[in-house]
């Protein structure tokens, strides 16, 4: 497989003065050396100090991150729309770091599709061909073919301003693909869409992947979007670090850090203590004890998904009994706040159909959990 996009030690900037990190109390800008700090453009600070990843042709890497984590800044820097403070961007082996956006072979799609309002849909899609000097007739022929492949051929003669949300996304994608990009950057195209349009745009993104051999990056804060579209997923951590890209199911099953697990938004976090003695290592929390062979002694958090949790009536298991103090029903799970006899509380996620009500005494059986040490 050919490596199409190779990002090495890219230092991504944010607009604004240095900001104190709420995670560790340090100044994030101190993660880079003083010389680099002094060379930053005025009014900028280091956001993501050193980002490295590759994307192969035909693959789609989803980058997950919380709001403000720097997902969009990373894409804009790779596209050449904002300056980098260091590192390099290689497209098909060619260093494009110093090149202007139009010479990089990278197409960037904004969160809201930006169509040229003075052009028809056909002229919008033909735009990248027109700027390359292709005769209008041929450009229109190819543009129409691309529109048809994305199932919006009937819109060719429409004004760009007369489209629905989903249509705008499809037309913008068709236009991007007409540029035949080596790299396609998608900046949260699925956020703020209603469920029906979201399904439609997801389908369009999958069609675009089939049509194009481009290396694609999709940034999102939604795991479902990443699972639906991407071949690989990576997450931006609290210090601006990017996790190693992995298959979406692998990341979901085994998040590399607690912050990534928190970002995924599907885990209950069960705080406790990891212990080690002659018999081995275990994790103790208010709901019981788990075998944890590799656990480092000390404070830790166990993360469990709803289907890994069983809620039993009090007294049936050999684990501490907990009282249900609150219950919230969500679309795919039930969230229970539980309290032990000493007054300590914990929140667990249980499968839909769990019958526990407020005031019930229950016992929790964890069938599987991931353990993260807290240092």
């Amino acid at each position: 497989m050919t490596v199409t996009l190779d990002v090495r030690d890219l230092c991504v900037l944010f607009a604004g003065p240095p900001q104190r990190s709420v995670i560790d109390g340090s100044v994030s800008a101190l993660l880079v050396d003083a010389a680099m700090q002094a060379s930053l453009p005025q009014g900028h600070r280091v956001g993501l100090p050193q980002v490295t990843f590759t994307v192969n042709a035909g693959e789609c890497l989803a980058i997950l991150g919380a709001s403000g984590a720097g997902k969009s800044s990373l894409l804009r820097t790779a596209a050449g729309l904002q300056p980098a403070a260091g590192g390099s961007v290689l497209v098909a082996g060619r260093d494009v770091t110093a090149l202007p956006p139009e010479q990089r072979g990278i197409v960037y799609l904004h969160q809201e599709p930006v169509l040229f309002p003075h052009l028809t849909v056909m002229d919008n899609v033909a735009f990248p061909l027109t700027v390359r000097g292709m005769p209008k007739r041929e450009a229109h022929r190819r543009a129409f073919a691309m529109l048809a492949r994305l199932r919006v051929g009937e819109l060719a003669g429409n004004a760009a301003t007369a489209l629905s949300g989903g249509q705008r996304h499809r037309v913008a994608l068709a236009r991007a693909l007409c540029a035949d990009p080596a790299v396609l950057l998608l900046d949260e195209p699925l956020s703020s869409l209603d469920p029906a349009v979201r399904r439609d745009v997801r389908a369009a993104l999958l069609q675009a992947r089939e049509v194009s051999g481009a290396a694609t990056i999709l940034v999102t804060h939604d795991l479902d979007d990443a699972m639906a579209v991407a071949t690989h997923v990576a997450a931006i951590g609290p210090f601006g670090d990017l996790s190693v890209p992995t298959a979406p199911a692998d990341l979901l099953h085994a998040p590399p850090t607690l912050s990534v697990a928190q970002l995924l938004g599907v885990y209950a976090e069960l705080p406790g203590v990891a212990e080690r003695d002659a018999q081995g290592s275990r994790f103790r929390w208010i709901g019981g004890v788990l075998e944890a062979p590799d656990a480092e002694p000390g404070q830790a958090v166990a993360c469990a998904r709803s289907y890994e949790v069983e809620i039993h009536d009090g007294g049936s298991l050999d684990v501490p009994a907990l009282t249900v103090v609150a219950r919230r029903d969500a679309a795919h799970e039930v969230v229970l706040d539980l309290r032990d006899a000493a007054g300590a509380t914990v929140t667990v996620r249980a499968p839909n159909g769990t019958g526990a009500s407020v005031g019930d005494v229950v016992q929790v059986l964890l069938r599987h959990a991931r353990l993260f040490s807290i240092r």
Binding site: G43, A79, G80, L81, P100, P101, E102, R104, I106, V107, Y108, H110, E112, V114, F116, P117, H118, F127, P128, T130, V131, R132, A159, T161, A162, R175, A176, A179
Partner: protein
């Protein structure tokens, strides 16, 4: 809607119509009549000589040509300067934006006589007093102020993502201007050209102070005829002064309709 509200609305409309058109009607009648003196209700005779003279008298024709040349030149140069200036200011820091807006507004807000005396002293030092070029430079100052404010407003609301999209789709700077910016700026540029022309077209104080009477323009001629008691000629000249403004108003309405049709 009640009958009373409807009647009030109709009366208001008629009053507004009379208010707006009465001076123009009076000018029209005066410019085409001879021997219309108080207390006569109607003119003694119809006479189109004032209009003929406007185009055939050499002095009057020069004044007209000067006014047109100054209007077109000022509009073109001021638009050419104000567009990049407004854009650069809008894309800059808030402090720069405010400073540029303040400077532009100063040129607009200063009383024409105060501005004219300042400009007169400057132009005289440049050796351009009493020349058409000196008057052109003087007209440029308030016009540039107006148009910079226009383009500052346009680019403050401008969607920069359009250019970013065009860039990543392969358009270089020149192509982005040709295929994206200029087509989208067609309406503001047309408005700016019209406004620039009208600001210059209506200048009296600046022309008088900087031109020192040596540069004749239509507004100066109209004032001179009025002072000389030549009401008929003054009325024809005044109407000629009003025509471009009315044409620009009509053209901008048409342009607004056609722009709406494109973006609807």
């Amino acid at each position: 809607m009640t009958a009373r509200t409807s009647s009030l609305r109709l009366l208001s409309f008629i009053a507004l119509l009379l208010f707006a058109t009465a001076p123009l009607l009076m000018l029209m009648v005066t410019s085409l009549s001879r021997g219309w003196f108080y207390p006569a209700l109607l003119p003694a005779a119809a006479d189109g000589s004032a209009w003929r003279e406007l185009f055939t008298d050499a002095g009057r024709r020069d004044a007209l040509v000067n006014s047109i040349a100054l209007g077109i030149g000022t509009a073109l140069v001021a638009t050419t300067l104000a567009l990049p200036l407004g854009r650069a200011a809008a894309l800059s820091t808030r402090a720069v934006r405010r400073s540029v807006a303040l400077l532009a507004f100063t040129a607009v807000a200063l009383p024409p006589v105060a501005l004219g005396i300042g400009l007169q002293l400057t132009v005289l030092r440049l050796g351009l007093g009493g020349t058409l070029f000196g008057v052109f430079l003087a007209h440029l100052v308030p016009t540039l102020g107006y148009l910079t404010l226009v383009f500052l407003g346009v680019f403050t609301r401008w969607d920069g993502r359009l250019e970013e999209s065009a860039a990543t789709l392969g358009a270089n700077g020149v192509t982005r201007w040709r295929l994206v910016l200029l087509p989208l700026l067609r309406r503001p540029i047309a408005d700016a050209l019209a406004l620039g022309f009208l600001v210059s077209w209506a200048q009296v104080a600046l022309t008088l102070l900087v031109g020192g009477g040596a540069v004749r323009t239509l507004p100066l001629d109209v004032l001179a005829m009025l002072q000389a008691g030549q009401d008929q000629r003054a009325a024809a000249g005044a109407l000629a002064l009003a025509i471009p403004a009315l044409l620009v108003l009509g053209a901008s309405r048409v342009a607004a309709r056609s722009t709406s049709a494109v973006v609807a």
